[in-house]
Symmetry: C2
Subunit: 113 residues, 2 copies
DNA sequence: TATTAATATTAATTAATAGTAATATGATAT
DNA sequence: ATATCATATTACTATTAATTAATATTAATA
């Protein structure tokens, strides 16, 4: 803002530090957020924070078409948001990324109360 | 997952509740996240959490073209993420939405340490 | 080994977003 | 009243994302 008092100067100093870090990270973070910025992908990840799920379990939970689900999962796998292991004829997806788990927990806390 | 033990059954019950709420909100939340899923918009909002800013201040802080900045701000204003008040020849933008402030704080905490 | 269930891939269409440049508006100062 | 600064709007192009349908793959089973 335009008018600066002593307190805002102090605040500005604090802010500068945290926003510098923000600047460093916002490319990567915004990339990650892009994956969460879709209702069904957010839903998928939400369910995965509760534990590993097979594709067909997710399909039931999220009521989403097989093709789309597979495409979303593949996308998020390439982005390292989820990982996949085969278990017989099932593919089991889970969340590996701890930051992501924290983020989704924070989102639930803020928006789902 | 496929194999259910007593503990996972209990977990599933807990999870069902929070995921139900997630389901209710994920449309709205993902919509909001869409605005954050862009490096410069994230940056803009980050700066605005530190206090109100004029357009030209944001322009300096985010090194972004006037036109694009104005377009982003307008978009986020329509989405009620920021609000605008005129102060003489300046337009001052700020964050009204408390959820958004919390979310950005959480993001900083998780990703910018 | 042929069939089926589970999942992945491809292709094609449509919709949304990003980015840029040019022009317009609105307030202030001359 | 006009020139200038701050901001907004419009129009356009390029890029990316979402959606759907059809087909392919892989593992299990009859």
């Amino acid at each position: 803002m335009i008018y600066m008092t002593k307190t805002t100067v102090t605040k500005a100093a604090i802010q500068k530090v945290s926003m510098k870090k923000m600047g460093e990270h916002c490319e990567r973070v915004s990339e990650l957020l892009k994956s969460l910025s879709h209702p069904q992908r957010l839903m998928i990840l939400g369910h995965l924070t509760q534990g590993p799920k097979t594709v067909s379990e997710l399909q039931e939970l999220c009521s989403i078409s097989q093709s789309q689900l597979s495409q979303y999962l593949n996308r998020m796998r390439l982005e390292k948001l989820v990982n996949r292991t085969r278990q017989g004829k099932y593919q089991v997806y889970s969340i590996e990324n701890q930051e992501l788990v924290q983020l989704i927990a924070a989102i639930q806390k803020i928006f789902c109360c």
